[in-house]
Point group: C2
Chain length 269, copies 2
């Protein structure tokens, strides 16, 4: 299909990107896909998956200024992009700075301090000052009014629908791509996605599955008409019995599983 | 195996029972498996599944007095059983009646009224009286100290392991037995249980699955070494396209599904 690396990216393309963002005026790094940089900058979040991140171009998966810039970037090349507030988190709205009586908080037994994050009426704000019986809370996004500088690199573009499904699964379920256990059965246009038991009870996992299905049907509609999530419990005693016999059965199983997943992918391409 | 209806029930037997319980002194009906009686007595709970209920004999699935009595009951015959507090919800403990200062509640912005259910230190209590700046809360079980009268009937004993698995699934997932979609694959000793999407986001559904697996491995260990939960999403457009052709495809599908489940059961017996 004449699919050269040099072709510009288009709306709907699946790409993996790496980026690091800083606030232009302060130089503070506020977000990054690099675990190393996150640790160095002390913004490391253990709940987050670091490494290249899936973006579907032109679909609002990233802020507007970056989404537009992606279409001008050559894959593989790191680029620096400056994004004004209008195309990032918006300008600051003085109307979103609200003043409350400190008595209101005391009555509810809430002990407010400067810097506290407060939820109120569905919005999140930060306590900016306390004094004279008043609490000033700013409900603007913390990055509103800021010009952001992205260092961004498009690692590669995904073409294979099964790889796209894997990337969507990784993103929605909060897994590393290599830990996604997914089988595509072309003859029934079905995706079988195994949910690791360790993430089964994660908060909102059921909603994450539903959102994933919705994305799959939106972006892979020619390939998928059925999605099956599987949660598999194998009785522990069996494994332990087997382990006594063979020694390192679990490692072996894991490898076998990885191989079979890979084999299935090959078949489905 | 000489499995006559007249044989007494034993510990570990799977049975379906129907019952209605009243408090001896007042005659108030406090629980029933009959939807009709629940509605008449105005204790109907729309979240509950009415009809025969699974009990595993001697495993504490019901109060002690009933659990013991089940072993003396002939299946099919309705029996009335009187159970003293010691074998029901315990005697009343005056130490569980606690007095709080009303100021404590006001400070937390809680407006207490007589009859309110209060959670405190992991226990649930009922506000019994308010006056003189004091709130008296009774943390005894509401049925503590009560003699209960059960009208109970053992509908039948389950023998088929697949039917037992179905009954366990119905109970843990809060489904009617006829709505359980379960397939037993004898050659791999595996149970495939389909989770209807309408209950996917029910609170604690993931924990219910884990509890179900634990019960299956405890009671059906000779038959099951693997449990697979499946959540299946079929793309709606496909169904709608089909519907235009065949008219009433959904009803047809439902029936087909029921038949195939039944067929699978027959095979596995």
């Amino acid at each position: 299909m004449g699919d050269y690396v040099e072709m510009p990216l288009r709306d709907g393309d699946f790409i993996l990107i790496e980026y690091t963002v800083r606030v232009k005026e302060t130089g503070n790094i506020v977000d990054t896909t690099s675990e190393e940089i996150a640790r160095k900058e002390e913004i490391y979040d253990s709940n987050r998956i670091y490494g290249p991140q899936l973006v579907i171009v032109g679909r609002g998966w990233v802020i507007k200024g970056l989404d537009e810039a992606l279409k001008e970037i050559d894959p593989g090349v790191e680029k620096e992009i400056e994004i004004p507030p209008e195309k990032a988190y918006g300008t600051r709205d003085p109307g979103k700075i609200k003043v409350f009586s400190i008595r209101e908080f005391r009555r509810r037994g809430i002990d407010v301090r400067i810097g506290d994050v407060i939820e109120y009426g569905g919005e999140t704000g930060i306590v900016k000052s306390i004094g004279g019986g008043r609490v000033v809370i700013d409900f603007n996004h913390p990055l509103a009014g800021k010009t952001l500088v992205y260092k961004v690199r498009v690692v590669r573009k995904l073409e294979d629908p099964v790889e796209k499904a894997k990337a969507l699964t990784a993103r929605h379920l909060g897994l590393k791509m290599e830990n996604v256990d997914l089988e595509y059965r072309a003859e029934e246009k079905a995706l079988y996605i195994r949910i690791p038991t360790r993430i089964m009870t994660r908060k909102d996992i059921q909603y994450a599955k539903i959102a994933l299905v919705s994305n799959i049907y939106e972006y892979l509609r020619d390939y998928v008409k059925k999605v099956v999530f599987q949660e598999i419990f194998e009785r522990k005693e069996e494994k332990e019995e087997a382990k006594e016999e063979t020694g390192k059965v679990e490692e072996g199983e894991k490898q076998a599983e990885e191989q079979s997943t890979r084999a299935e992918e090959d078949v489905s391409q």
